[in-house]
Symmetry: C2
Subunit: 134 residues, 2 copies
Amino acid sequence: MLGRVNHVAIAVPDLEAAVASYRATLGASVSQRQALPEHGVTVVFVTLANTKVELLEPLGDASPIAAFLEKNPSGGMHHICYEVEDIIAARDRLQRAGARVLGDGNPKIGAHGKPVLFLHPKDFQGTLIELEEV
Amino acid sequence: MLGRVNHVAIAVPDLEAAVASYRATLGASVSQRQALPEHGVTVVFVTLANTKVELLEPLGDASPIAAFLEKNPSGGMHHICYEVEDIIAARDRLQRAGARVLGDGNPKIGAHGKPVLFLHPKDFQGTLIELEEV
């Protein structure tokens, strides 16, 4: 069911400092910053040869990564996103297996303009998993 | 400097349960378990189309993931491993930029039989980064 790893998301308290780490210190290719107010984050993409890392900084008062950064003030790996071909079929299979889908169970349009779902970390060894239909 | 994402490592308290989650619930291809006593972990590989996820369970009394699981009893994303062409050149560049390499600064032979180094999470937004020479 799982396809490619679309991205690994890292929540950071200071996006400028994070961009400097990845661009100057690690020598990676880092995109311009994009504010995504409807998702409550500002994001940059670190392009690797086979996938990407997304660095996320909170944006606005109700950012979905605010609680994570309260618990992990330095930042940390926040979620991993896997591609699926059919997100409704994936959701139905997961729910039949007893896994919990966050929110109302219906896909939302994610930061890349594609339908996404998040799975409850308690059902997957403490890892927040995003599924994205591609 | 950074090449492919070689793997994302997830520390888990119960490898059998984790294998069941990834194989049966998520429908992923999961390897047989491999005990790596010299690395203090038992590991399985989840094969994705473009990279892999490694599920790590502590093995023995001095497992390098024991402290992480004490802080995160359900498990969680533990580190991300990037490939580099020349690990000594990578280390020297990182140290010149002020980043801290864990241990004595010399590469060790990692779980895949290749030279590896770990970078201090405090220098990279709370993310433990492994570099592997390929």
